[in-house]
Amino acid sequence: MSAPLVRTEELSGGYRPGTDALTGVTFAAEAGEVVAILGPNGGGKSTLFRALLGELPQRRGTVELAGRPAYVPQTERARLDFPVSALDVALMGAYGRTPWYRRLARADRAAARAALARVGLEAEAGERFGALSGGQRQRVLIARALVQDAPVLLLDEPLSGVDAPSAARIEALFEELRGEGRALLVATHDVRQARSWQRVLCLHGRQIAYGDPAAVLTPDVLQATYGAELVVLGDGSTAIAVEHHEH
């Protein structure tokens, strides 16, 4: 068994002293694993990402990472009126390794173009970011993370509201990234998708469960995770009724 790329032990924390948004998170993700992070809005998914990025003001417990993780925000939070091209956004992935006194390297520009090609947007490199479709913008943000070349990727609902071709492309890319030995933590509300990945972490202000999807995704765990947002369908299966909201 390889060493985990991400490991937490009794991770807790929040945004103000004395008020935890998330408590008791203990999990580990190895190379080649996609971990679904399930939970209702306000359940702690974004808080977990903030904690892993080292940006949570109040944090207790242990966090071990193989390197700086790359973060892919929800595309609906991106500024559409911004004067940047898809290539400009992808190039931002190289900012962290470029000292302020240096110009971006030619290799970084090549990496940004290659990343856009990998998400199927080579031809759109010069397009204004805000003029792209929601799914294309999400793929550009993923390309930015690819340029960072991080061992761990944190993706905040990357498949939420994207068009079918983009969703298919993103899911195929997840498989490629698994094959490269990266670990992906994917916040999602899609239980069906979560079943197809290697691990599931259920959150509702605290850790409800963690492990193999087959063992974790039981009706009781989903009920504890989603509470009133859980809907039982006529065929006995469950669905999540999620109200999307501005953070």
Binding site: L53, R77, P83, D88, M92, Q148
Partner: protein
Amino acid sequence: MLDAFSAPYMQRALVEIALLAVLAGVLGAWIVLRRLAFFTHSVGTATFPGLVVAGPWGIAPQLAALIAALGFAGARERLARGREGEEDAATGILLVGALALGALLASDVYRSGAGVDRLLFGTLIGLSGRDLALTALAAALALAADAALRRAWLARAFDPDGARALGVAVAWPERILLAAVAGAVIVALAAVGALLVSVVLVVPAATVRLLARDVRTLQLGTGALAAVEGVAALWLADGLNVSPGPAMAVLGGAVFALVALLTRGRS
């Protein structure tokens, strides 16, 4: 037409316009991209009490303005602390307070009389060599800061949540940007006064923002527009015998409205 610009005071005004155009281009772009227009306007207004007391107290107006701006920034930070999303309310309260204090000092304490107009609206045609030197220094520093920090500023402006995760320093470049904007406001006061700094530092950038597809174009276009508007306003003011600052405000507003109208409905 060129005769209008032959007098030494007019040539100093042209130099000042060119220097302010550099500041408008370099920093104005970041002001609109970072949505700092209200901050910029409020820093200018907050300097008004400082400008009023500078003369009677025998200190340089820029120094008095700097002290007033620092007091404003500290009070704003204190008022907004722990109240995320309410920074504009704190800014608004302080802005009104600064105007009221300045008006009180000018009318009842120091009897500033007609000099108040100059403090509020500046005068491009009454600039000293020191005014030009300070603007040149601010423009040079702004160019240097932009060259060093533009990637950090761009990442932060585009994606406030994700910038740190890119490995980009966010906090200190942000402080430098705010300080640079405050510095630009202070050196612009002599030319356009406490109430019209936005005419130079915000309006041209907001206009070009409607057309520009990238940040470099936004900066170059803003600098060029600010220079053209400044020279045109100076020429109009001379011909119509009005003050150049308000002429620049009217011209800048008209150009913005025209461009907004022509680009309406564009994605």
